[in-house]
């Protein structure tokens, strides 16, 4: 039965690796300027983790095949080199491996989180609430009017709690249910939660960031391909969590201007 165990492990290990090698289920193609760094980091990690996985399962299978159910007369042996060799090997191989992953990974992380948005990035506000995302554009004045939480009222469509009567900056703000952005233009998203924790995840953009009640969180990215992509919530926010989504429309510069004009006219 030891040999059967060994064969089973081998078969499971190989079958597990096939969908990865064949790219059967891959993430959708990247449409951001920073995403390739994450994808490369992912591929390198996959190679290192994959080799570790296969090697460990193969050695386990081999030893179980070799040494199971041997008779009492067979001689006991100890692995030459003993534990010291294994500890040194693990420290060297895994140590270098994780150090490399860690150091190279910093670059991808820094690209998203440690570099500030450029001065001419387009600023858009995102608000998450049970169970919808809303977005606010500052309008021609380039300024967001202040939010008055006590004035938030979905019934009369005051989704952000704006007071245009008293706040001049709010008068030209444009509030929408979809996030439209121009292609190849950096976007600086100012995120806040209305009620509980939510998250902003766009697979194609390689961004995911929580909305944290009580905190203003920001995120910046540049989309490189025109198209329509799903924005989904990834932080458990209540009964409608599975259905909390919006669309990201990446438009050409002209289409974006036309869209913006249309939205402004509807406010």
């Amino acid at each position: 039965m030891g040999k059967f165990f060994a064969v089973t492990i081998l078969v499971i290990a190989i079958l597990s690796a096939i969908p990865i090698v064949m790219h059967t289920w891959d993430a959708p193609a990247d449409v951001s300027t920073h995403g390739h760094l994450i994808d490369e980091q992912m591929s390198e990690t996959m190679a290192e983790a994959g080799i570790s996985f296969l090697a460990a399962q193969f050695i386990l299978a081999f030893f179980v095949w070799q040494f199971s159910n041997r008779g009492k007369e067979s001689k006991l042996k100890s692995f030459p080199g003993g534990a010291r060799a294994l500890v040194i090997a693990a420290l060297l191989v895994v140590g270098v491996e994780v150090l490399a992953l860690g150091v190279f990974g910093v670059k991808a992380w820094a690209g998203v989180y440690l570099t500030p948005p450029s001065a001419n990035a387009m600023t858009i506000q995102a608000q998450a609430g049970q169970f919808a995302f809303y977005f606010r554009y500052p309008g021609p004045d380039g300024k967001f009017g202040p939010i008055h939480p006590e004035m938030i009222n979905e019934g009369n469509q005051n989704l952000f709690g704006l007071d245009p009567e008293h706040d001049v900056e709010s008068r030209d703000d444009v509030v929408t249910a979809e996030l439209a952005i121009p292609v190849n233009k950096e976007v600086h998203l100012l995120m806040h939660a209305k009620d509980v924790g939510h998250s902003f995840f766009v697979r194609e953009l390689r961004v995911q960031q929580d909305f944290v009640p009580g905190l203003d969180v920001s995120l910046h990215f540049t989309a490189t391909k025109v198209g329509k992509y799903e924005i989904v919530c990834t932080q458990l926010c209540g009964l409608g969590h599975y259905n909390m989504r919006a669309y990201l429309e990446v438009l050409s510069a002209e289409d974006f201007d036309a869209w913006m004009k249309k939205q402004a006219g509807m406010q």
Partner: protein
Amino acid sequence: MHDTSAHAVQHQAPTSFIRKHVFSLDHKVIGKQYYGLALAAALIGMALSWLMRIHLGWNNAAIPGLQVLSPNGAPGGVMTPEYYLQLMTMHGTIMVFFVLTTAPFAAFGNFFLPIQVGAEDMPFPRFNMMSFWVTFTAFLVLVSSFVLSDGPTLGGWTQYAPLNSIGSAGGPGQGLGVVLWMTSIALFCIGQLLGSLNFISTTLDLRVKGMSLMRLPLSAWAWFITSCMGLTAFSVLMPACILVILDHVAGTSFFVPSGLVLNDQLIPHSGGSTLLWQHLFWFFGHPEVYIAIVPGIGIVSHILIANMRKPMLSQRVLIYCMGALAVLSYMVYGHHMFVSGMNPISSLAFSFPTLVITIPATITVLVWVFSLYGSRLRINAASLFALGFISMFVSGGVSGFFLAQPSIDIMLHATYFVVGHFHLVMGVAAMFGIFAGTYFWFPKMSGRMMNETLGKVHFWMSFVGAYCIFMPFHYLGIAGNVRRYATFVDDYLQPLIPVHRFITIAALFTGAAQLVFVYNLIHSRFWGKPAPDNPWEATSMEWSTATPPPWDNFGGKHPVVYHDPYQYGVESSVGDYVMQASPEQVKTDHEEK
């Protein structure tokens, strides 16, 4: 090293039924009570996972009888999205706390730690009894939330703030459901703190003459290290739970900031911090992962050695690795919060220890695998589950390489990749450790042998089944499938539904295998072959005493320890091993001194 005179007989042999079987002070009875609780909890948790999986595969399927369990949650037997989340929350909570913590640590540890150190009982038997009954009460409090009109909490086993603190306005079960959840977990923490105190003092103070720390078996070391983690982790979670309860009942705002609006109403709270909850929770939560798995590491090492007929390449290295995992587990918790809004520099700071923790884990695996070299490995249900544990620990462990890196976490956070990772490494691996322990120790605990054939059937179905369930989870995650969704309405997720159906079928199959185990357990308990004192020809102290052990463990004798725990591959009067308590001198080249 301690003299036997340090032992105090803490209690007399019980005479009444209640003292023998219900409110027992005997660590062995308490261990069995914990095992029974874990078994009942595991069956409930598994049934919940079946319901969830059926719903995820076939959204509109009516599950017969479900409407009786919850008329509101499943009208006509079809699950509502909120009921899915409630079942998911209960599944996670029951499995993490009442199965993965209680079985490998509290159940086996209670039964075997005092015997393995040569003691008559634990130093505080009344605390020990209280530990079980408080934990049992915690379980009743948790499952009682099923009968609430709006059901149990839907916030997940992590219970993130402020959803956990804003009351029923946040959704079904978020009022009294959360209060019951927090009460249950706070009680659970008290139970485990009492247990940890007993484990630590048993290990340090009650070792019999000759039992130096380095002569403790690896299982005893694992329980000792786990109890140190338990003492520091549960003592953080308990106050955190109490603060949430205060937010509900006393109008405080520990976890709710100002300016939040629900149903167009401003929430009357201010000054709280939502991230504070995450820090407190994960400061407990990540060590908790190791509280679940370190006993498994010890148990599996202990069982493998007896079945390899030779010691591990180094006992010391394995002990140091378990210790390193325990210490590092407190430094890595922030990897759960990479995209939480925490300072991005902190993410990098938490990333490095997370990557480093793979080093002791790798050394542990290498020592196991290369110790197999040159052994005379016996294949039985216990050793198969121990070998399966290694395979699962590796498979679940390598995905940690991905999740340790904040940049990759951007893509994998909150996806099924994470679900696959933790189910394999702390769920399935820990369960395999529990099964290995059961097949190995059942004879000593019950006085009867388990059926080996059924045990092997159980192993093969579970091993293949678990891989069929949890490997595809990783593929789903890589493709971007978000977890904690009741239904997959996203355009993008539609093509992945056939994978979910495959997983559901595999889950039903694997669940059926557990029924074989339960049948074997019950049947063997009453009709199994009577077990000899040392059926596996093993060396540690539990095999030196009668089967089942008398109430004071060694029948009034004070055993003396003469050897390392694992003297196999020697020539002695009894065979290829010499027991720790045997004064026989044998020629050996691997006594640690």
